[in-house]
């Protein structure tokens, strides 16, 4: 089974978020990065488990500059066999999806995994776009995935329940919580990571039709007003006149 896992690099969850350049760019100063948890904990680990059960290989792919290599090597330490880095700034979802699709096409993978979203921009777009470029089915929000002999069963999260889907490979799936459990790389894995192939390829020309105009931070939290439980009239007045929600 040939498996491809898309991994991206996201700011650490404790990062302070700020913007520069007229609020149109994310301020990266002082930010430390991690592998996007949905990619690492669920997509990558499930792919490795499938390889362990069925044989085959797990390749990880990232679109980004050389400074992403450290994140990529973590994926190799956890258990991926090799990696591809498309040497380009990940400008937009469509651009990234095009780059991944090119590599996926060339590699002929049975399943392409993405995380259900990245924890920074929360786009949830790449998987669907890659599937479209590849002309393959796309299953989003997978919480479990069983695959063998060209067939797969994916359970996916839907509002208020679970939907079970059966389909044949190849396809693209996005992984949500539940598909696997975080794996900590072991010492040997870490020592081996540098010896595994990390192939750097140049991007193909691709459209980048959208432009980010600006980002806005949510309004800062304001203080809390305490209302005496005996004074419901005051609460109603505040909700009406100040909060303007009733």
């Amino acid at each position: 089974m040939k498996l491809l896992v898309c991994i991206s690099k996201t700011p650490d969850t404790t990062s302070k978020i700020a913007f520069t350049n007229g609020n149109s760019e994310f301020d990266t100063s002082g930010i430390s990065y991690i592998m996007n948890p949905y990619d690492e904990w669920y997509a990558l680990v499930r792919a490795i488990e499938l390889k362990e059960a069925n044989g085959g290989s797990v390749t990880v792919i990232n679109v980004g500059p050389a400074s992403n290599d450290q994140t990529i090597r973590k994926a190799l330490a956890i258990g991926a066999d090799d990696a591809i880095r498309v040497n380009a700034e990940p400008k937009s979802a469509m651009y990234v999806a095009k780059q991944i699709a090119e590599q996926a096409k060339a590699g002929g993978y049975d399943i392409v995994f993405t995380g259900k979203e990245t924890i920074d921009y929360n786009g949830s777009e790449i998987g669907a776009m890659v599937a479209e470029y590849l002309d393959q089915p796309f299953i989003s929000y997978g919480v479990s995935l069983e695959a063998a002999g060209g067939n797969a069963t994916v359970k996916r999260d839907i509002e208020g329940g679970i939907e079970t889907v059966e389909l044949a490979t190849p396809f693209v799936v996005s992984a949500a919580k539940g598909m696997a459990e975080q794996r900590i790389p072991n010492m040997r894995g870490i020592m081996m990571a540098k010896r595994k192939p990390l192939n750097v390829v140049e991007p193909v020309a691709a459209k980048d039709p959208s432009v980010t105009v600006s980002f806005d931070l949510p309004p800062a939290k304001t203080g809390v007003k305490l209302v005496d439980p005996e004074n419901m009239g005051e609460l109603v007045r505040l909700l009406k006149e100040e909060a303007k929600i009733i």
Binding site: T14, G30, P185, M187, R188
Partner: protein
């Protein structure tokens, strides 16, 4: 002892006091390579995933959990990173091992002790002194955590004076086994250990190491001790009543148990210093977060100068000790590397490098544990009443930290040892103390002064030279009186303590300077150089005052009249670091953490 060092510019153990060091030769944590960062993150992930979820149960010492976590750590290869590949280890370099131990220090419960016992005082006697069969039988399963190990040295009547142990071992007439009788006390991990490293007097007077299997008839355990802290660690008495141990389970040579005990302790001390660093980093992180979150007088308490002082000072002390830790680690690593190149085995090289830097290891233990106690004490204070509540992590951290000043040799013993080791090496002419001490005498007579160094840190370079001169002057004069029979330092421990503190503070201050000089050349670093400079200058201001005070206390305790006046005037000359606005500098450091809402250096 070690000739390799003669050819290299690396410092010998204790030699930092007698020679200049260059920042180019040191290692700083900001230089951690990608693998080391990955290893660090892995340790933190391990703690988060495998320890935090069962933390409350571990704190109650629920049966089986220490073993379980050890086994999980072993499965990831975490217990053998400092062990030879031939026995299932990974032979990683010393600095990477320091990173692992450092970050294991942040566990937040007594598992730190379990980990340190298994990988340190548990495995090392087997590695250093075990025969090939003993290594296969006991070391291999210790690295894989199939066997849990404990180390039985202390007895009810022998703690610091460990060699006076009363437990005895007598050889059977047929020479096939020893019979051990006696009692050990305060034995960490004994509640679940499979392998007991035991020290006993053969024929009542030959101090010797043994390997005893758990479950051997006659070996029994006392109840769990009710301890002030590290509740997650098992600590019991171990009783030996006619315990028969096969003769092949003697560890090392008969009568050479002290070699095992001392060599193992060198590494144990450095490891403990490393864990204190990791624990303190976490204590500061909790302090900053709470200070930002807690409002009084309608402001976060982090906005008050008194609290900023604490956050700044906690950080400065940690940062300084951390610099010393990685510097010493790198010295050991370099020596080990050279020894292995020269044909020594991994094991021999590990043993010799720790022995060479025994003094630095003792220093790390003392400064690490005292820094950690300071940090957790202030962490409780920053938390106010909540800090006194068992609901907060700092309350436990405060109790857990306290043991570090007691075990692995009390801090008093390690202070004595620091000066004794230095003097012994001087006597054996392994270190040239005399020429630099004479140079100081000459300088005092001629009234010359140390010139400022070149570059941005010229003042600090001069100050370090001066601190060393102060030590050479005080220790040199005391030693001279001792040789003339006018002073018996053995009976004047207060003086030795003063001198020991001067030595330790100088080691740390110099390590800090080297780190900050090296940071000055790094383009990518967590903070701007201004913050590091603030740390450096506050620390030097403080150490200048401390060394002046310790030096004065020592001098007035052994000198009189003109001699005393001369020494005091020399001391003044050597402790002239120009003080800076420490309030402003500490605030700068504290504000950096407050802004980041956590430890961020």
């Amino acid at each position: 002892m070690v000739n390799t060092l003669e050819e290299k510019k690396s410092l010998k153990g204790g030699e930092f006091l007698l020679k200049d060091s260059s920042y180019k030769d040191t290692f700083i944590p900001e230089e951690m390579n990608e693998d080391q960062q990955m290893v660090r993150d892995m340790v933190l992930d391990f703690i988060k995933n495998e320890i935090y979820p069962i933390d409350a149960r571990m704190e109650k010492l629920e049966e089986g959990l220490n073993e379980l976590v050890l086994e999980k750590a072993a499965a990831l290869g975490l217990l053998g990173t400092h062990m030879p590949e031939a026995y299932g280890g990974l032979e990683m370099d010393t600095n990477t091992n320091t990173v692992i131990t450092d970050y294991f220090g942040s566990v937040g419960n007594g598992f730190t002790v379990t980990y340190a016992v298994q990988t340190g005082i548990g495995m090392l006697p087997l590695l250093y002194f075990g025969t090939e069969e003993q290594k296969q039988k006991y070391l291999v399963p210790a690295i894989s955590a199939e066997k849990k190990v404990c180390y039985c040295l202390t007895e009810p009547s022998s703690g610091s004076d460990a060699l006076s142990a009363k437990t005895r071992a007598d050889l059977s007439e047929d020479g096939k086994h020893y019979t051990i009788n006696g009692q050990k006390m305060w034995i960490s991990s004994s509640g679940f250990a499979d392998t007991f490293i035991v020290f006993a007097q053969v024929d009542g007077d030959k101090f010797t190491g043994f390997i005893v299997d758990g479950g051997t008839p006659g070996l029994t355990l006392g109840a769990e001790e009710e301890k002030m802290g590290i509740h997650a660690s098992s600590t019991r008495q171990v009783f030996f009543e006619n315990v028969k141990v096969p003769a092949e389970n003697v560890l090392g040579k008969i009568g050479e148990g002290h070699k095992i005990a001392f060599n193992v302790l060198n590494v144990g001390r450095y490891k403990l210093g490393a864990m204190c660093v990791g624990g303190a980093r976490k204590g500061i992180d909790l302090s900053v977060k709470y200070a930002n979150e807690r409002n009084q007088f309608r402001k976060p308490i982090a906005s008050f100068g008194a609290i900023k002082h604490k956050l700044g000072e906690q950080t400065i002390r940690l940062f300084a000790v951390e610099s010393a830790l990685y510097r010493a680690s790198h010295l050991m690593q370099e020596l080990k590397h050279d020894l292995m190149k020269g044909g020594k085995s991994f094991t021999e090289a590990t043993l010799i490098s720790a022995e060479e830097y025994a003094m630095e290891c003792a220093i790390l233990k003392v400064i690490g544990s005292e820094m950690s106690d300071y940090v957790v004490d202030e962490a409780v204070q920053i938390h106010g009443g909540m800090g006194f509540s068992e609901e907060t992590a700092v309350s436990r951290a405060y109790r857990d930290s306290r043991i570090s000043r007691i075990y692995e040799g009390t801090n008093e013993i390690n202070r004595l040892l620091t000066v004794n080791t230095l003097m012994k090496r001087v006597m054996k002419q392994e270190l040239d103390f005399l020429s630099p001490a004479m140079a100081v005498q000459k300088e005092l007579m001629e009234g010359t002064t140390t010139p400022l160094g070149e570059g941005k840190y010229g003042q600090e370079e001069k100050t370090i030279k001066d601190f060393k001169k102060a030590i050479l002057m005080v220790l040199g004069s005391a030693a001279k009186l001792q040789m003339e029979g006018k002073l018996n330092l053995k009976e004047e421990q207060e003086i030795v303590m003063n001198i020991s503190d001067m030595i330790m503070d100088t080691f740390v201050a110099e390590s800090l300077l080297l780190r900050i000089q090296k940071l000055g050349e790094l383009t990518e670093k967590p903070q701007s150089q201004e913050i590091y400079d603030a740390i450096l200058k506050v620390y030097f201001t403080d150490m200048n005052a401390k060394i002046a005070k310790d030096g004065m206390d020592a001098i007035v305790s052994f000198a009189e009249g003109d001699a005393m006046k001369g020494l005091l005037s020399g001391l003044r000359k050597f402790t002239k670091y120009p003080p800076i606005n420490v309030k402003k500098a500490r605030r700068l450091v504290a504000d950096t953490l407050i802004e980041a809402n956590g430890y961020c250096l």
